[in-house]
């Protein structure tokens, strides 16, 4: 799989910066939602399950998952690319990071869906 052939590096980095900035906002909303109740109550089982039933909260969680995964795994790809400079290494790194990203998003989405009871 050659992401480079699909997207230019400038396009990948544009996605990287946009997801990074967007993640700041959704994580801020996520934290603020925890702060509207006492901290210990926010970790209460019933409260968490109730949150998962809230479609707005679910959308926030899903967007955090996607944004952080895309931004984070691309960041790891960029760091690893600098370690070695050969085509085989670059291909392996690209495949591993993209498949890990997809796996994490899929597993996280599954958890959200199960908790939501859809």
């Amino acid at each position: 799989m050659e992401i480079q052939r699909v997207l230019k590096e400038s396009q990948i980095m544009k996605i990287h910066y946009i997801t990074g900035i967007a993640a700041i906002f959704v994580v801020a909303i996520h934290i603020m939602m925890r702060l509207v109740v006492p901290f210990e109550s926010s970790l209460n089982y019933d409260y968490i399950i109730a949150n998962y039933k809230n479609i707005f909260y679910v959308l926030i969680l899903e967007s955090i998952l996607v944004l952080i995964s895309v931004h984070g795994f691309n960041g790891i790809r960029v760091i690893l690319l600098e370690l070695r400079q050969n085509t085989a290494w670059e291909k392996v790194i690209t495949v591993i990071t993209i498949s890990s990203m997809i796996a994490l998003i899929a597993y996280g989405t599954r958890t959200i869906i199960l908790a939501n009871g859809l």
């Binding site: 480079q4 590096e9 400038s10 980095m13 544009k14 960029v78 690319l81 600098e82 370690l83 400079q85």
Partner: protein, 261 residues
């Protein structure tokens, strides 16, 4: 000339890195006692060593006036031009001279610039235009004319002497030799911002995995440049253009009809 200039010369300890790649010998440091005056540069001191103490010392130099960019080396750990660095300004009793980092060593303080020049050549460092100077002159269009504002867009980047100090200071080049380096990227901006240049492919050259996006913006390239060029600025301007954050307001200079009668 003041009395201070005529006083007995002070001496400085010069610690010089020695290595001969051709003989596969181990590297070591040689120490030399060198007399100096207020105006003595590190290059003067090294040439004193070569002339009077050890003729086998290898140094590359030419103009002795910070124009050719040949005598780049690490002086007390910082990439500098030896001809542009006065011993008196360093304010240390020992001066350590080492070859530039990020360059393969040929011998002693002489390094191999092949890869550096290859990166420079890759960015096509020349104006690409469909209209030749001759055509412009014949048709009296003078599209090669530039306003002072047009020149200001790239002027500082055209002062680059290709000394390699920025390349040596760049932490990204230290880990990624396919990264073009600050010099090549700043030169790319120099031609990109030039209103006479019509190349459409220039940015694609550095828009790859090891291209412009690998710059960490450490800024050390701009700090060590002896000519006051700011390669980090050039890189950021290019990146902002490629991201679509800034619009390139480059446009062809207006064609001026000149009436010679």
């Amino acid at each position: 000339m003041s009395n201070n200039d005529n006083k007995i010369e002070d001496k400085i300890k010069l610690k010089v890195y020695r290595e001969n790649r051709g003989q596969n010998s181990k590297s070591y440091y040689d120490s030399f006692e060198v007399p100096y005056k207020r105006w003595t540069t590190v290059l003067d001191a090294l040439l004193y060593v070569k002339g009077y103490i050890d003729p086998s010392l290898a140094i590359r130099y030419s103009c002795r006036m910070a124009s050719c960019g040949s005598c780049g080396m690490k002086i007390n750990g910082i990439p500098r031009l030896a001809c542009y660095t006065k011993i008196s300004e360093l304010e240390t009793s020992t001066i350590e001279c080492e070859p530039l980092g990020n360059f393969p060593i040929i011998r002693d303080l002489v390094t191999d610039f092949s890869l550096f020049y290859k990166h420079h050549k890759n960015i096509q460092p020349y104006i690409q235009s469909t209209e030749s100077v001759e055509t412009a002159a014949e048709e009296k269009t003078y599209s090669y004319n530039q306003s002072p504002q047009d020149v200001d867009k790239y002027l500082q980047f055209s002062y680059c002497i290709k000394c390699g100090l920025c390349y040596s200071a760049c932490p990204t080049v230290g880990t990624d030799l396919r990264f073009p380096g600050p010099q090549a990227l700043a030169q790319l901006y120099r031609y990109f911002a030039d209103t006479r240049d019509e190349s459409k492919n220039r940015l694609n050259i550095v828009d790859d995995r090891h291209g412009i996006w690998r710059c960490h913006f450490a800024g050390s390239c701009s700090k060590v440049c002896p000519k006051g060029v700011d390669p980090a600025l050039g890189i950021q301007l290019l990146r902002s253009y490629m991201l679509g954050v800034s619009k390139n307001n480059k446009k062809q200079a207006e064609k001026i009809e000149v009436n010679l009668d």
